[in-house]
Each structure stands twice: as C-alpha cells, then as structure tokens.
C-alpha cells in the first residue's frame, strides 16, 4: 500500500511569488490534514478535510493560504503571495476515519524556503 505522498519535496521561491503544494493521501482515506513546522518550532495544525469538505480550518494563518480537495482525493495548498515567514516544512497526513482511535499517517513533507 502506497503511503502519503507530497510534491514537491523542496521548493525555493522569492517573496511575493505563488507556490502550490500537493498531497496525495493513502487511497481510501477520507480524512486529510495539513500541518506546518516553522524552523525550531512545533508542528502546527493548519486544516482538516473530510472528503472534499473543510472540517476544521482553524489553523490557517491568513487568507494568503488556500487549501482545496476537489473530488475528495488529492489536496493542494496554495500560498499566494508567499512571505518570508511562510518558510518551513509542510506536512500532510491522512486517516481512514474520523476519531482519535485512527492513526494519522504522515507524508514526507515539503520544505518551503521563501527568500
């Protein structure tokens, strides 16, 4: 069974540019989560999809971040325009069902550097 995949693995962009990150969850997993780790800090929750619906987007930092999950399969996270403080590692995770008894499986992350 393929794990959670994320693309790209690394991205270096200039301030003001746009970047789109992609996450492919494990096949059949309805729940998809985005997290971010800014250097030296904790991994922070961004948002949670159940299928194509946003269940919880309380962690999205501002309206420069737009997440979508059309069709309930893969998800994209767009940052537009990117700022220096957006640099970090963006993780995606998926789980088959809702509820804390279900493990969240993490992808390898996308390292974003905004110059």
């Amino acid at each position: 069974e393929a794990g959670v995949t994320q693309f790209p693995s690394h991205s270096v962009i200039e301030k003001g540019q746009t970047v789109t990150l992609r996450c492919d969850p494990i096949s059949g997993h309805d729940n998809l989560y985005w997290y971010r780790r800014v250097m030296g800090k904790e991994i922070k929750f961004l948002l949670h999809f159940v299928k194509e619906s946003k269940q919880d987007e309380s962690g999205m930092p501002n309206n420069r971040f737009l997440a979508e999950r059309t069709g309930g399969t893969y998800s994209t996270l767009k940052v537009q325009p990117a700022e220096l403080e957006d640099s970090g590692v963006y993780f995606c995770a998926s789980s088959p069902e809702q509820g804390p008894s279900w493990t969240q499986y993490f992808g390898p992350g996308t390292r974003l550097l905004v110059l």
Partner: protein, 114 residues
C-alpha cells in the same frame, strides 16, 4: 490555548543507556496522547498512542509510555537504546473526540553514540 511541552530539546546518550523523554500537556480534560518519531530522511511515524485503559502503553521497537493524569504527563521510555534510535521524537495530543487535530510539542532530538 492547548499546548504540549517537551522539556528536552536535544538528548545525547550512549548505546545501552536508558531513555526517558518528558512530555506534559496543558489541558485537563479527556485527552488522547501520541508519540511520533522521525528517523533521518524518513516520514513521521507513530510509535505508540493512548486513548483509554491501561496507562502504560507499549509501542514499537521496545518503546513504552506512561500516562499520569495527575501530572498531565506522558513520558516516553526505553530501557536500553540502540544507535538506530537516533531520531527526532514528537509528543502530541488531541483533546476531544471528533476534533482529532494533533497538537505537537517542539520535538526532542535524540542522538545515540555507538
């Protein structure tokens, strides 16, 4: 706001030493507790989790953790570490059933010296 504290940022041990990594969380309600590990170049993966029942939880690779509700703690232990345990360890908590977003600590980097 909910928070998780991991007091040790970097721990260096020799092989065969015993390990205990501290984790405390801030909220006193019903919690679900996790330890994740990230080996160099690999994904975050679950080591163990606690939801209810026996507060001593056993995980993979010989790790265990004990939930002490009165101390809001969930410390990770291993009696004898190996070089292959070199990794970053993250404690995480989720608070309400149906609100399963994870709140993480800042992580503890563990270096095992052969």
């Amino acid at each position: 706001a909910q928070s998780v504290s991991q007091h040790n940022h970097h721990v260096i041990l020799s092989e065969a030493a015993s390990l205990e990594l501290g984790c405390n969380y801030s909220y006193g309600g019903t919690v679900n507790l996790f330890w994740y590990v990230q080996y160099p170049g690999q994904h975050l993966q679950l080591l163990l989790k606690y939801f209810s029942g026996d507060p001593l939880v056993k995980g993979i690779k010989g790790f265990e953790a004990e939930f002490i509700k009165s101390k809001f703690s969930f410390n990770l232990r291993k009696p004898s570490v190996q070089w292959s345990d070199t990794a970053e360890y993250f404690c995480a908590v989720s608070y309400n059933f149906g609100n399963e977003k994870l709140t993480f600590g800042t992580g503890t980097r563990l270096t095992i010296i052969p």
